[in-house]
Symmetry: C2
DNA sequence: CATATTTACGGAAACGTTTGCATAAAACCA
DNA sequence: TGGTTTTATGCAAACGTTTCCGTAAATATG
């Protein structure tokens, strides 16, 4: 059995309560006894039992994090993103002395069970949910239990009751498209995954918006979706047989980016010489590819950091305004784009930027 | 305040102890009262306070995991590996009803502090340490406190007191080299990172061993180390100016693999036409690269799974033999290698496998 | 039918803290 | 000097469980 506060008290000839107050550095204890007690604590190698403290304080200084791992390759990639978000959360938590407990479940229901256990079992003071999705039971549960929590991503409903942190996906897509338009591209394609996701819809909208603001015509035939993994080839094919085929593509995930790169490579089409690519999410993948992909950095670390910040504020003051934080995105130029000559936006006769 | 066991007891007209026994499904309670109590529990929405339980049972059913994130790019890649190990741990933990708490520190000392807090604070029943390294304070601490733990990787000392799970790196490197020798390669280079790591030394040894077993001469000039990130170019250069330049390379990390690929690409050397590559660790990176890299899969998920299994066994029975588990590696053929013709191992006149 | 055994439950201590309340000693004030 | 305030500490309850021990009722035993 480990050393308890009582052992220390006995050895130092004080009451347990005094020891407790020394630990919390209460100002009601004289410096003299503080010194004495601390010395005994050191000698005996005392360490607070956080379980006991948690019980009486009704708080564990621990945050729960809902991780959504998935077997599918599409999500394995997500892990890089998740990793980085987690590091952001970690960084902030550490700063404020919070521990992190993660979900272990792999199915929807298992994860829900984990959350219930953490929350009802009083293992955590608050939660962070990575990725908002449809028909999710977790967020409604947390709302119902009035537990402090924040969401990384945009909640689909009851947005004003929820603290969340996300990128402005519309703006980001608009920026990316602007970036290409400014480099004299006019035929710009958009490739997204599941169009039922709000993220994708926002991005498509931003993409359109860029055209409008430049007084250009929007054209839905340049917007395509890849539904099953590794089907980028088909989409690329569709683009290539178009009359006015795109000189540039905005792509919504790194995985698709690389997929497109592969499909183009197979067809002998060079990037960025013949087509420019700009891809959402700067990850190791995009940095390691040949050529290095030009990306829209979504600042995953920062997303996590802010999410953690929000929850902890909420824990310390439950009346904190449930603000939503928008993390600005940034275009990270790589080697996968180039500028077309001003008077001629064909693929011939170009200047490398 | 939440519903406690006493509330349930009162509402069901039984003693708190009875409720507790119902929860643990004790056979000393009649089916009739079990039914009755369970009904009340449901109605009141009771959930065990795991803090209180942990306090009296001296066990939290939680495992601590020591994560070593790093800012350096070399390690960002590691995150993919870490992610997968973590999933393995998660899978097993979930199966046995264990929660996972992760370290949040980013420096050596911070992480050590996290571990001390978890262990001494009685927040966890056991620990899993990812990556054994030199001058590490964590493992000695855990040994000293006699806490159940396991290590993913090979401990550098006191191996027989420690339960660990690792690959047989010597065998893996030997297999990889064999693989190339069987395909008629004779000039085979080896690229590793920090040669002070045991992993790397083991791999070099395995590499040599393959040569010996085939009755070939070992040649230290074919073994090179990349000390700083992104310096693969220099090493590649060194290889290329050799009189008998290598027709194949064994490379110790995916990051270096891609680095080498880039360096070769820059010099216009085609893979696998002019040189074959085989890389340690199958990750998303190696799968997404062009060409897909032939890899030695180290089964990260399995490493985590077994590590978790070991600790939990150790928790349930402290006398469990501290076995070390060796997870077999597997060669995953990609597109980055080819077979040379049997009578001529020059780069001319070849057959693609 | 009396005694021994089993079954089903209640009472209360224990886990290791924190904290409100009480109080003795010291310090201050008039 | 007597009373009041302040300072420093102790006592005991509370947090929500589990579990040891005791015991009445039910059942089995001879």
């Amino acid at each position: 059995m480990a050393i308890t506060i009582k052992d220390v008290a006995k050895a130092a000839n004080v009451a347990p309560s005094t020891v407790s107050r020394v630990i919390s550095d209460s100002r009601h204890i004289s410096e003299k006894t503080k010194k004495k007690v601390r010395k005994v604590m050191d000698e005996l190698g005392y360490h607070t039992n956080l379980n006991a403290r948690g019980l009486v304080q009704q708080s564990t200084k621990t945050l729960g994090v809902v991780l959504k791992y998935s077997e599918s390759d599409v999500w394995k990639l997500g892990n890089l993103f998740v990793s980085e978000v987690l590091q952001g959360i970690s960084a902030h938590c550490h700063q404020y002395g919070y521990s992190i407990m993660i979900t272990t479940g792999s199915t929807e229901d298992e994860i829900y069970g984990d959350v219930v256990r953490m929350v009802q079992g009083k293992q955590v003071d608050g939660m962070i949910v990575l990725y908002a999705k449809k028909n999710d039971k977790v967020v409604p549960f947390l709302l119902d239990k009035a537990i402090p929590f924040s969401v990384v991503g945009k909640p689909l409903e009851r947005m004003n009751e929820i603290m969340f942190v996300d990128n402005d996906n519309m703006q980001a897509a608009k920026d990316a498209t602007d970036f290409l338009i400014q480099r004299n591209h006019r035929q710009i394609g958009f490739i997204g995954d599941n169009p039922t996701f709000q993220v994708i819809q926002d991005r498509v909208e931003g993409y359109y918006k860029a055209f409008e603001e430049h007084g250009l015509q929007r054209d839905a035939s340049y917007v395509k979706f890849v539904h099953t993994p590794e089907e980028e080839g088909a989409v690329v094919e569709e683009f290539l047989i178009m009359e006015a085929k795109p000189t540039a593509l905005v792509i919504s995930t790194p995985l698709q980016g690389v997929g497109v790169l592969k499909a183009l490579h197979k067809r002998g089409i060079r990037v960025p010489d013949e087509i420019s690519l700009i891809v959402f999410n700067k990850t190791l993948i995009t940095e390691m590819s040949i050529p290095v992909l030009t990306t829209i950095d979504t600042e995953a670390f920062q997303l996590g950091y802010e999410a953690s910040k929000g929850v902890i504020e909420l824990i310390n003051n439950p009346n904190t305004f449930k603000r939503s934080v928008i993390i600005p995105t940034k275009i990270e130029p790589g080697e996968s784009h180039r500028k077309l000559t001003e008077d001629n936006n064909s693929v011939i006769d170009v200047t490398i930027e």
